[in-house]
Amino acid sequence: MTSIILLSIFGILNLFVGFMKSKKVLMPVVLLFLAVALGATMFDWNQPQSYFSNMLSTDNFSVGFTAVMVLSTLFILPFSRSYVVAENSNLAEYYSLLLFALVGGIMMVSYENLLILFVGIEIMSISMYIIAGSDKRNILSNEASMKYFLMGSFFTGIILFGIALLYGATGAFYLTDIAAAATRMDPATSPLLLMGLLLVLIGVTFKIGAAPFHFWTPDVYEGTPTVFTSYMSTVVKTAGIAAFYKLMSAAFGGVYDQWFPTVVAITVLTLLIGNIGAVAQTSMKRMLAYSSISHAGYLMIALTSFNDRSENALLFYSLAYAIATIAAFGILKYVGDARGSDDYTAFNGLGKTNPLLAFVMTVAMLSLAGIPLTGGFFGKLFLFSAALEQGMIWLIIVAVLMSAVGIYYYFRVIIAMYMRDAEGERIAVDPLATFTLISLVVLTVLMGVVPGLFSNLL
């Protein structure tokens, strides 16, 4: 809650900071804001509280995911340095939008009432629509923005209709009330409830970019400026999946049997489409987009398993995934800017020209692929364990096979970097970004060597 208020105020303040002559001051200010917000979030740790007549509550679940999101933003921002240098006239606005989106995200992870969920989703989505189009002169960015907007608001409508039906069926927006009503009445005989649940499910599936409503992801990711793409694929996705999990556990935990087959089907489909789609890409950015789809699938395994392990697994995986993805996108931004292309070929010989970038990228890719020594491995291990405890062997077999497919496309980057000849010059990276990249690697390896530090937080 404190973080919501703080970030809102900071967002507004930041808009006014933007009126200063020099844009250089923006980045430190925003980083400071985020650090303060992160600190404030941590104060709520182990101190569950609820606000606004229980419409919003902070518990360790929400604090954990809030921390992941704020931290991710903190890590993403340094890569936007080139925008600062370019004296982008709307930079303050974009930063503020990121902060506002973060507010929306925090609402999405700490809601107790569907109203807050809806408002959170919208605050986040609307900010992201603009962010997607922030490269105003670039037709690709325009298109991404438009697609995201049309699709996003369309699915918002679907979520809303679902919420309305749920309200009609249960008479409540509070998760606890819905849960009570859902268990009281036999869901199989209540078409209103089932329909509502299905529609909400569809909408949220879209928001996290899971199949079969994933089709916007590659396009939007490709068109959006890279730094913001990394925000989308980490913060937005984290918020979405956490909200999804909370919805399913707090409101529909009692009717698990009703939605379980659907969610499993979505998970499997997402895994297949994400991974196989990624294989076919030649553009690194699109590959990362598909990889984000596939990771949505892995994250959804937590939903299908749905036991006391899965929450922790979800948090761990989100963090590991976010860190690796930020590193990947951060490097992609530098490489893309310097070599004028987002394709794999742009990475050729990076190991020779920029050993540090190549090394960080390698660690990020290994983490995304789930190879040990990185956080991604334990993320996958925990998720799979949670599902296996539930006895879902077939799901895990699919997931394991798809992880193997994942290795194929993640390693293409590594191969390009180390085993092909260099085509470009050394790429200059500013110190702040270098520092960030190193911290990302340290964090990833830390998660991969002593996972115990992060694995039992909730």
Partner: protein
């Protein structure tokens, strides 16, 4: 405060609005039809061209216009909705008391901040 409004509304209570609507529509249709019927009709290519002070008209009139107008429209949508939120508050102002006032002050504060931002941003600067 004495209330003279009827105690209960039924859909039929809104019938007068329909009557008024029908009356107004009738008047409009009547006048348009009558003028259509009794007015003269002489066609000519020059007359049917768009009027541009007698100069030959060029291009499509529906060309993009200054972005400022769009900004005004967008701002309106936002502010108007905020204003709508004030109506229920205003009506129940006395019931809500000081708390309501303080909340609304915060709301207004945010609104004004946004407003101030928009002005500083130069959205309302017309050359």
């Amino acid at each position: 405060m004495e209330t003279t409004a009827p105690a209960q509304y039924l859909p039929a209570d809104y019938l007068p609005i329909v009557i008024q609507f029908v009356a107004a529509l009738g008047f409009v249709i009547f006048s348009m039809v009558v003028t259509h019927l009794i007015g003269p009709k002489r066609k000519s290519a020059v007359k049917h061209a768009s009027w541009e002070c007698g100069i030959e008209s060029k291009g499509d009139a529906r060309a993009p216009i200054s972005i400022k107008y769009f900004l005004i429209a967008i701002l309106f949508v936002l502010f108007d909705v905020e204003v709508i939120f004030l109506y229920p508050w205003a009506v129940n102002f006395r019931a809500l008391g000081l708390d309501g006032f303080v909340w609304m002050l915060m709301f207004m504060g945010l609104l004004l901040t946004g407003f101030f931002y928009v002005i500083r941003k130069g959205v309302l600067k017309w050359e």
